[in-house]
């Protein structure tokens, strides 16, 4: 199964072109042009990876990141920054973002980060699944199922 990706940036022509490029690489891609819209999409859908611009009008990338980590903590976020300094992106990583890239970025660099983030997410999900199975097996109620 390929990662489901949401790209969030107020630069529509950037999002559209990047979405097409990632689609050609056989990812399942959705687009969002504002922080507010992204937060609604995140509530309604399950994305594996979110590519998120740090600076957007209205709801900022940092606010969207906090909301994502609050509602879908397993979703991995790659921050995009147009600033030469990376303070905001690092702040994002402290808040749980997987990594960051500076604009403009190479498609290959982004693809590597997507794959690494997806691997981390699936490993995390596997661990949670295993822990649940162990919990079910070791709980007294499991005797009922025997």
């Amino acid at each position: 199964m390929r990662p489901r990706i949401l790209i969030v940036d107020d630069e529509e022509d950037f999002v559209t072109a990047l979405a097409e490029r990632l689609t050609l690489r056989e990812y399942e891609v959705a687009a969002s042009f504002s922080g507010q819209d992204a937060m609604e999409k995140v509530k309604e859908h399950n994305y594996d990876i979110i590519i998120l611009d740090v600076k957007m009008p209205g709801t900022s990338g940092i606010d969207v990141l906090k909301e994502i980590k609050n509602t879908k903590p397993l979703t991995e976020v790659i921050m995009l920054t147009g600033n030469a300094t990376v303070e905001t992106a690092i702040e994002g990583m402290k808040l749980g973002a997987f990594d960051y890239l500076m604009k403009p970025c190479e498609a290959d660099d982004l693809t590597i980060k997507i794959e690494t983030a997806y691997k981390k997410k699936t490993e995390h999900e596997d661990k949670i699944r295993e822990a649940r199975i162990k919990e079910i097996i070791s709980s007294p109620r499991s005797a009922f199922h025997k």
Binding site: E11, D13, F14, A17, L18, E20, R21, L24, K55, M56, P57, G58, S60, G82, N83, A84, M102, K103, P104, C105, A107
Partner: protein
Amino acid sequence: MAHHGESPEYEGLKFFGKINASISHEIRNTLAVINENAGLVKDLIMMSEKGYPLDVTKISEKVQKVLDQVKRSDKIVDNMNRFAHSIDSTFLNINVCEYAEFVVRLSERFAAMKGVQIKPELPADPIEITTFPFMFENLIFLCIDYAIQNPTEDNIVLITANENESAVMFEFKGIASSDEAENSFKAGSSDILDKLGAQIESNRDSGSFVLEIIKGSGHTGI
């Protein structure tokens, strides 16, 4: 916002840095759009070499996006260049409406980040004063910055201008400020106001303030 006691020179450096950071951010955005659209064209061509049909309409559409962004970048660089040259003359006769319009353009990204719209409704006929252009731009920027940080609910800041024999007046409408924000704004801009022979009168009831610049009273240089 500056704190009281910061010199106009330091305030000027902060203004210069803030505008440059904003412009470079905008350029990065245009480069990112160019990069993705050019990259997409490259992807499509590579796919056609492997036997996939080449969608010429799509290629043409993406090339047009690149050309549009080059035009956008050109305007951004023009603004950057004009802004950089505003430091060249320390005493110049300028049309303040034209300069204020320019500062509005430089401030649009800051306003957009706050979800605020700046509407300059400035007279077409020139209003001229002799002043230090860079410091005048700095003062207008401080006024706009204060306005976009403290907008009324409709998030629209209106700027008008007029003159009489002795002074030029800019009115900023659509302000919903606290005492603290207003005092901080006035304290932060006090040195530049003194240098330019200007003063600020606020009218909290009407949600506005007037920047009055007395003709012929501004200092020269930094």
